[in-house]
């Protein structure tokens, strides 16, 4: 006998939403750390480091996230790590986010006018100091709107974790849909939840962009 689609189901889906946001937040933090390293490698004067970062970005951006998740999910057991699937998936999302953030931030750093770097050198700042005090502060302003925009992509993409059994919003929706046999209502509710989380962030990203160009 099917259950009625009730408020309790919606509450259950909301717990899934908590995991969705949590997973996206972990991926943003992990991806920012790895992404910073990638960015520095990408803009470094060492061609080998730059090439390695470029290759990493090419491969990760050229692989569907779902396949990346499968590799992480099966890979950890394959390599003999006894870590929870959730941890493996969180790490995979971080590596995925790093590839995109590394690309966004490289663009931001390279869009800081060359004169700024030259001015810093003329003032006797070392390369590292020029980066730290002159280039990066300006690049952060440029990089903020697309980074916030990418966070929306991350929140949406955590939905793919449902395929490898992480009980986030999409997975809880599947469970409720199977129990109630009301897929239309259930997935519309899920879509509404995603929209209510993502749309304000999208608007925020756009307003940042407008403020920056004004």
């Amino acid at each position: 006998m099917f259950q009625q689609f009730s408020f309790n189901h919606v509450l259950f889906m909301l717990t899934g939403l908590g995991w969705t946001i949590g997973l996206a937040a972990i991926a943003l933090v992990g991806g920012s750390i790895a992404g910073s390293v990638l960015t520095l490698m990408r803009v470094s004067s060492n061609p080998v480091l730059s090439r390695i970062a470029q290759f990493y970005i090419f491969v990760v951006q050229g692989t569907p996230l779902l396949v990346t998740l499968f590799i992480a999910y099966f890979g950890t057991t394959y390599l003999g790590f006894s870590i929870a699937p959730l941890t493996a998936i969180a790490v995979a999302f971080s590596f995925y986010a790093a590839a995109f953030l590394g690309d966004i931030w490289r663009g931001a750093i390279q869009s800081v006018p060359v004169g700024q770097r030259e001015g810093a050198h003329a003032l006797g700042l070392s390369r590292a100091h020029a980066m730290r005090y002159i280039i990066v502060p300006q690049a952060i302003r440029i990089a903020t709107p697309p980074t916030v925009g990418f966070f929306v992509q991350l929140i949406k993409n955590t939905s793919l974790a449902s395929v490898v059994g992480i009980v986030e919003l999409t997975r809880t929706s599947q469970i409720v849909s199977n129990a109630t046999f009301k897929p239309l209502e259930v997935y519309l509710t899920a879509a509404l939840f995603y929209f209510l989380v993502c749309f304000p962030i999208t608007l925020f990203s756009r307003s940042l962009e407008r403020r920056l160009s004004a």
Binding site: Q61, P64, F70, G80, K156, L160, T170, A190, Y194, T202
Partner: protein, 223 residues
């Protein structure tokens, strides 16, 4: 840790080739439909009639702010409740087209907005019909200027096709899941599939570079 053993995967390469072919077919179909939807949606949002503009803007925002897999589930599992039951492959192409169309429309809108008013006035002064002006003065230069963004979007569309394996479409990822079930060589199969996707992306990029030269030769004129 066991040694990687690809023999079981290679033995099923006929399945893999079928999967690649289906991935290519649904992705190309979705790209064409997404482009058509994108042009229509961009024109409707720019046309000025607010009764046309608002529904289109709502469509774009809803699609861009909800996950693709939920859209796929809504179309495949949800629409039968409204009396529309689709085969997995049709549902996949429909979902990918709707999804790709929303992103494509934003790109094309930016392209159309970049066309100077003077261009259109010049077209009118030359006695071109509105349709001719739209086709040759607005759309073609607009598409040519946003072509790199379109290619990036099409690559994302190609990669998103892996998601439709969740509604049992036997495309590349779905085939991978099947082979995984047959051989239990999960690590090997997904590594092979990842490499194939990277190859498909590279091929798409290469194909698009050629297409750009064919469609927009004026971009490559030596001045």
């Amino acid at each position: 840790m066991n040694a990687l053993d690809f023999s079981g995967v290679i033995a099923r390469s006929d399945l893999l080739i079928k999967g690649v072919w289906l991935t290519a077919q649904i992705s190309l179909a979705a790209m064409v439909f997404a482009l058509i939807i994108g042009v229509l949606a961009a024109v409707l949002t720019l046309a000025g009639n607010k009764f046309l503009r608002w529904p289109v803007l709502a469509y774009v925002e809803v699609i861009r702010n909800t996950p693709f897999i939920v859209q796929v589930f809504l179309i495949y599992f949800g629409l039968p409740a409204l009396g529309l039951r689709l085969e997995p492959i049709s549902a996949a192409i429909l979902a990918m087209s709707i999804y790709g169309g929303a992103y494509t429309s934003e790109i094309i809108r930016a392209g159309i907005q970049s066309i100077g008013k003077g261009q259109i006035e010049a077209g009118r002064a030359l006695g071109m019909s509105p349709l001719t002006i739209f086709r040759y003065v607005v759309l073609k230069p607009a598409l040519s200027s946003v072509f790199p963004s379109l290619v990036a979007q099409f690559i994302l569309l190609l990669l998103s096709s892996s998601v439709v394996s969740a509604i049992s479409v036997p495309e590349l990822t779905g085939t991978g899941n099947d082979i995984q079930g047959l051989t239990l060589r999960n690590m090997e199969i997904y590594l092979v599939i990842a490499v194939i996707y990277v190859g498909l992306v590279a091929a798409l990029k290469g194909g698009m570079t050629v297409l750009e030269r064919v469609l927009f030769p004026f971009k490559f004129l030596r001045r």
